[in-house]
């Protein structure tokens, strides 16, 4: 029997007061609890940055690795034990900057992994430099004249990159965030969930107030207004709405969701038993006929 208390830890959560990451951890505990996944069956792989500390703040297995490398570690965990619930945590610097190459390639593979990105549009842990998702024009420590580089669009990249689930949530709406996490974790295949998560210390532009005013839900109560999540072009249009509307309208919810066989499905011998369960003792003499 799974209980929400299974996920609690003693240690104090050390993010800035008001940080959007609190909502991410809180929603994740609830999501895992409501999905009924025992804490020992989940592994979180993270990189470096404020997002990287996530595995410390809830009681599941965790691997806090190197900056930008949450996805390859998560991939290795999944391939070695495909029975585990594997979640990777990244940030906009960690996942869309230094680790962007892995993001592009993991989507092609469609492992059954959930990737949650703490997107606060700034480098927090290194004290306020511009990130790949910092808005054009914003002044930061490293862009005193304002950002001149075009913003990286994670949603659009995920849609064209081959992710089979692409979603976005806002940390200011923890109920919706939890729902999105449950959807992403339940999705069989690579699920990318970008979480707009205000950095209260270094990002004075993209605040709670900023998002509360602009975010609207793709899956609302009016079925007529609903977005077709299997339509790639419609999904792409929605993915560019924030930029096209000069950030007046920011859609959250599921942009894109399709079924495709996972990478693991292509390996018959891990269907029943993960490779960690296989016997290590083998007889190599069967290769000799090729070498004689």
């Amino acid at each position: 029997m799974v209980a929400i208390t299974d996920f609690a830890v003693k240690e104090k959560t050390q993010w800035c007061t008001g940080c959007g990451d609190f909502a991410i951890v809180g929603a994740l505990k609830q999501a895992l609890n409501e999905l009924g996944i025992p804490n020992y069956q989940t592994v979180i792989s993270s990189g470096i940055g404020c997002s990287g500390k996530t595995p410390h703040y809830l009681n599941v297995y965790g691997f806090e690795g190197l900056h930008g490398r949450a996805l390859p570690v998560a991939s290795g965990i999944k391939l070695a034990n495909n029975k585990l619930n594997v979640i990777a945590m990244g940030g906009d610097g960690d996942g869309y900057g230094i680790g962007a190459g892995h993001f592009i390639h993991i989507m092609r593979r469609n492992y059954d992994i959930t990737y949650i990105v703490h997107n606060n549009q700034i480098y927090g842990l290194t004290t306020g430099q511009a990130s790949p998702t910092t808005q054009v024009g914003m002044k930061t420590k490293t862009t005193p004249g304002g950002v001149i580089e075009t913003q990286f669009n994670p949603i659009a990249n995920a849609i064209i990159g081959g992710a089979t689930f692409v979603g976005r949530a806002f940390a200011g709406d923890i109920v919706h965030l939890k729902t999105m996490m449950k959807e992403a974790i339940s999705h069989r295949g690579f699920a990318h969930l970008d979480v707009l998560q205000p950095c209260v210390t270094f990002n004075k532009l993209n605040t709670y107030d900023f998002f509360t005013k602009r975010c609207y839900k793709l899956q609302n109560t009016d079925p007529a207004a609903n977005h077709n999540v299997e339509d790639k072009f419609a999904a792409l249009q929605k993915a560019m709405e924030d930029y096209n509307s000069n950030y007046e309208k920011i859609p959250v919810g599921i942009f894109y969701k399709v079924e495709r066989p996972t990478y693991e499905d292509s390996i018959p011998w891990i269907k029943e038993k993960a490779i960690v369960e296989h016997d290590l003792k083998v007889d190599i003499s069967l290769v000799y006929s090729d070498l004689e």
Partner: protein, 608 residues
């Protein structure tokens, strides 16, 4: 009896395949055989060659002088004529115009209508080399049936038609030589029907790892390590492995560390440039105490260097890679048997001590093919150390809100380990310094304790190290002691009998366990030696420096070669003869260079 044949032609002409078939042919006849490839970093246009050397006595690597050259293009005549033994023969396609070369009077030229023979036998132009292989076997009067047997096995998966075409092409070449009375200086008949195997260093590393329990392998293609990836994939299904080609080497090692954290014995393979990209994660494996095995197949550096040539220049790099202090093991097999057993051992060491283990080979060992005995599998035992069997003994219930202590400070430095998915074992592993539960910690005391805990593993590990092996007479009974590591064993082993013939008393001390070094063990192995020569395929005598650092022992001479080729035994003999004549006095640094400067990358530079 010894026979050396060079097959050479343009890249893409099938030279490598032909070489491997020939090595198989003679191995099946009971001979010791090696195939040593040389090729530039090009797919088309450069010069490719493989040297097949066989003997009824044990042999280990290539030599300088071929008896037969099979020239598939005109360049091949130019490249290999000068190094041939007197009385040698060159078999070449009659369409090649050899008139522009100044031919040697003591080398016989045999033009063969290779294209025509192949076509008449129903083969494609690509199969010219197969006809040439048949021709070479006929020239030494080797029975054709052996080749037929090899081809049946080699192409069995490709079907009867492919077998027939290859056999027919080879037979055409074979018969043509027989009917025209072309003969080599040597006649070779099978001497035994004992079945040995042929295997490259990389294949032996792969098989040894599989026997050692590897379940996960990830890599990015890089010469000369790529064939580990190829062979792993070839065997993926048979042994239920998961093999992943990743987007880069950073991903490769992070995948492997993830897989290892989840409980699979995991490994990556790469060369220097790829290893450079893995360096950050190497330290992460160390601080998170996640077992990992890295096969590092060296090539000529720095940077892209000469990608397809051999060197031992990455030793210092392997020993020092990554920031901070942490224990690691560096192993260097010297032949394919050692490749097999040390790779199996590497996985035990990595898991028992929860550390990174690096296996160092180089292009010469990794890509050359060697006949060898089948591996004695009974010698390999899987030891998983302190990985708890939680199926048998479930963990006790953890108090609420607490984690399992994965990094308990222990006397031997190794902590109990459980795998994700284990009830009551929840913990975090991290690249940060951490407390006993894995939670990040910057406590001064905890930091000191964790560093010391990890370092203590080295002490325990010392018991697993093999002492350097002394080959030949005792140190005090020889005039000079050669010392080397890894693949240098191949060159020196072939030089030792030649030196003995010349009446020079030499022995050889070979290191396969490069780090950590047991000072007493090393001192014992080297004690009593009169003159010492460290022989290495690099320009700064890296291992000599390491030995001096850890034991205070200084070599009398460094014999070094760093032009991309391994030492040929003749070169070692020549240099030692010179030294002996000078009463073992002279410059400490002896640099060996080739007499004839050749360039495979740009045949144009030779006017070809």
């Amino acid at each position: 009896m010894e026979f050396v044949c060079k097959i050479a032609g343009q890249a893409g002409a099938g030279v490598m395949t032909t070489g491997r078939l020939m090595v198989k042919c003679f191995t099946r006849g009971g001979y010791h055989a090696i195939g040593y490839p040389e090729y530039p970093s090009l797919i088309r246009g450069g010069h490719n060659t493989v040297q097949v050397r066989i003997s009824d006595k044990p042999i280990h690597g290539p030599v300088q002088t071929p008896d037969v050259v099979i020239a598939l293009n005109k360049d091949a005549i130019f490249y290999h004529m000068n190094s041939m033994a007197p009385g040698g023969i060159i078999i070449y396609d009659h369409l090649i115009d050899a008139s522009k070369f100044k031919l040697r009077e003591d080398v016989r030229m045999h033009p063969l209508p290779l294209s025509k023979l192949t076509q008449e036998a129903g083969g494609t132009e690509q199969m010219k080399n197969t006809a040439a292989l048949g021709a070479a076997l006929a020239a030494v009067d080797y029975p054709f049936e052996v080749l037929v047997g090899i081809m049946k096995d080699e192409f069995k998966r490709k079907g009867e038609e492919v077998i027939k075409k290859n056999v027919d092409a080879a037979k055409a070449g074979y018969d043509h030589v027989k009917n025209n009375g072309i003969k080599s200086v040597k006649t070779i008949k099978p001497i035994s029907d004992k079945r040995s195997i042929i295997i490259t260093g990389n294949e032996a590393i792969t098989l040894g790892s599989i026997k050692g329990g590897v379940k996960f392998y990830s890599a990015y293609p890089m010469t000369p390590a790529s064939t580990i990836l190829h062979y792993m994939i070839e065997n993926e299904k048979a042994f239920h492995l998961v093999v992943k080609q990743t987007e880069d080497e950073i991903a490769a090692i992070n995948y492997a560390i993830g897989a290892s954290f989840a409980g699979a014995r995991s490994m990556v393979g790469t060369s220097g440039g790829g290893f450079a990209l893995m360096v950050e994660a190497l330290g992460m494996a160390a601080i998170s105490e996640t077992p990992i095995v890295i096969a590092l197949a060296q090539r000529v550096g720095p940077s892209t260097g000469m990608p397809t040539w051999t060197e031992q220049g990455d030793l210092r790099f392997a020993l020092h890679a990554s920031q901070g202090d942490f224990p690691r093991v560096v192993l260097a097999p010297g032949d394919v048997q050692e490749c097999f057993f040390l790779s199996a051992k590497a996985h035990n060491l990595a898991e028992k001590y929860q550390i990174p283990v690096i296996i160092m080979s180089d292009k010469n060992l990794s890509e050359s093919v060697f006949s060898t005995e089948k591996f004695d599998q009974a010698k390999v035992k899987i030891e998983r150390g302190k990985l708890l069997d939680t199926h048998k003994h479930p963990l006790p219930v953890l108090p609420p809100m607490t984690r399992w202590k994965r990094y308990t400070i222990t006397e031997d430095g190794v902590s109990d380990r459980v795998l994700p998915g284990t009830p009551n074992g929840v913990h975090v592993s991290t690249s940060y310094e951490h407390d006993e539960t894995g939670f990040s910690s910057e406590s001064f005391a905890m930091r000191t304790n964790q560093v010391q805990k990890r370092a203590r593993k080295l002490k325990l590990l010392m018991g697993e190290l093999e002492a350097p092996k002394v080959y030949g007479a005792r140190n005090d009974q020889v005039e000079v002691t050669l010392i080397g590591w890894g693949s240098l064993k191949l060159s020196v082993f072939d030089a030792l009998p030649l030196l003995e013939q010349k009446g020079i008393k030499v022995n050889f001390i070979h290191f396969t366990h490069l780090f950590p070094l047991d000072e007493e063990q090393v001192k014992k192995a080297l004690s009593g030696s009169k003159k010492t020569i460290m022989i290495e395929n690099n320009s700064t005598a890296q291992f000599a420096g390491v030995l001096r650092q850890y034991t205070g022992i200084e070599m009398d001479f460094h014999m070094l070669k760093y032009d991309g080729r391994p030492f040929f035994p003749e070169q070692i003999v020549e240099e030692i003869e010179k030294l002996k004549k000078a009463d073992y006095k002279g410059d400490k640094e002896i640099v060996v260079v080739e007499k004839e400067d050749l360039e495979y990358y740009h045949p144009q530079r030779h006017g070809l």
